[in-house]
Symmetry: C2
Subunit: 197 residues, 2 copies
DNA sequence: CACGATACGGAGCTAAGATTCCGTTTGTAG
DNA sequence: CTACAAACGGAATCTTAGCTCCGTATCGTG
């Protein structure tokens, strides 16, 4: 970000690593409202040092989210390898959710992903959209999913599932949410104990 | 809240009304992050006056949410009049969502309703739970809903649908979200254009 | 080893927003 | 019509959290 990684002085590189690791942990645990000095303390570093590496809190946040989105796109790519069209779709939903699980900061980012215009994330978002669209098309063609299901539905549904993780209404379990979503509240004719991935 | 309504001086009563109406409007439009002086200005009143009536911002917020929750419980009660068991359930979901629509402050309150321990709301929450539980039981008995559906699922699902309103991922429509939830992403066998309420 | 460049630390500055304080105004009982 | 309690207004205060500044410490090259 600031300068090239390899031209960084050794102590600087080390500290940068510590800061990123500390903020990864704290953002995950408490979300974006963690304070900069908490991050600095957790990283065993002065506040000034944090600001040398990341000019603003937002920049730090952005760097974190960009990282996570990267993983996210990779997960999507690997989900495409699943042969069964229906399982591929279920898999991408469940694995995406798993990727977000336990990271409050990323949960918020996920839910608000459409309104946040974070620099450098557009790329990953587009890649993700492409892959998911492909998986959906396959599932539709195979007739295992309602034929009007589109990528926007995926985004909407992920937003909803993520909200369950973040807000935990009545100690709810997001896997249950996914299950309801896939098979419908009104589906009386449940298949014989189909397990979601 | 402060003193008995009828022992309030006439101007005080009038101002209190104005403050409540202004904050109802502003919380709905911008959510909880509206500032106290904006509310005061909108009400045509000094900040001091706002604080005479509501000791803290939180107290004001609470009063607003309590009001809305009241409406909410009433809506639930009237949904119970719907004769068809399935329609009753759909109705309560859709009408609840409609009640939240267009009120950002309430949307947030809805999503986080389980973690916020707002004084004086427990009562309405309990009433709501009772009614919804009854409606669900009826639908289950009639065999029009998966028989393991419970009140906690309702809360979870409402949280998800509300998140769609609040975060608007990809310009999503919450009615679509409800539709997916009711009939399932995997339901290929859609009924002949069943309209949600 | 020495010295300049690079990086560090953290006290203190600043802005934003909630809340208080108190002199002034207004309603109303007598 | 008075008098005084009840209300009002809004400048001033307090608090929190992001961010800057600059004297000090550390790296790494010659």
């Amino acid at each position: 970000m600031a300068t090239d990684q390899r031209t960084l002085r050794s102590d600087a590189r080390r500290n940068r690593e510590r800061i990123m690791s500390a903020s990864r942990e704290l953002f995950a645990r408490f979300g974006p409202q963690v304070q900069m000095d908490e991050i600095a303390a957790h990283a065993g570093v002065g506040i000034g040092t944090v600001y040398r590496h990341f000019p603003t809190k937002e920049a730090l946040l952005t760097a974190m989210v960009r990282d996570r989105f990267q993983e996210f796109a990779e997960i999507a790519a690997s989900a495409e390898d699943v042969l069964d069209p229906r399982e591929a779709l279920e898999s991408i939903i469940v694995r995406s959710a798993e990727a977000v699980e336990g990271d409050a900061g990323f949960q918020l980012a996920m839910m608000g992903s459409s309104q946040l215009e974070w620099e450098g994330i557009e790329e990953q978002k587009a890649a993700l959209a492409e892959i998911v669209t492909r998986i959906i098309a396959r599932a539709c063609a195979a007739g295992v999913v309602r034929d009007d299901f589109v990528f926007e539905d995926f985004a909407m549904v992920m937003c909803g599932v993520t909200s369950t993780m973040y807000f935990k209404p009545a100690e709810a379990d997001w896997r249950r949410h996914v299950e309801l979503l896939l098979h419908g509240v009104c589906s009386v004719t449940r298949e014989p104990e189909r397990q979601v991935v």
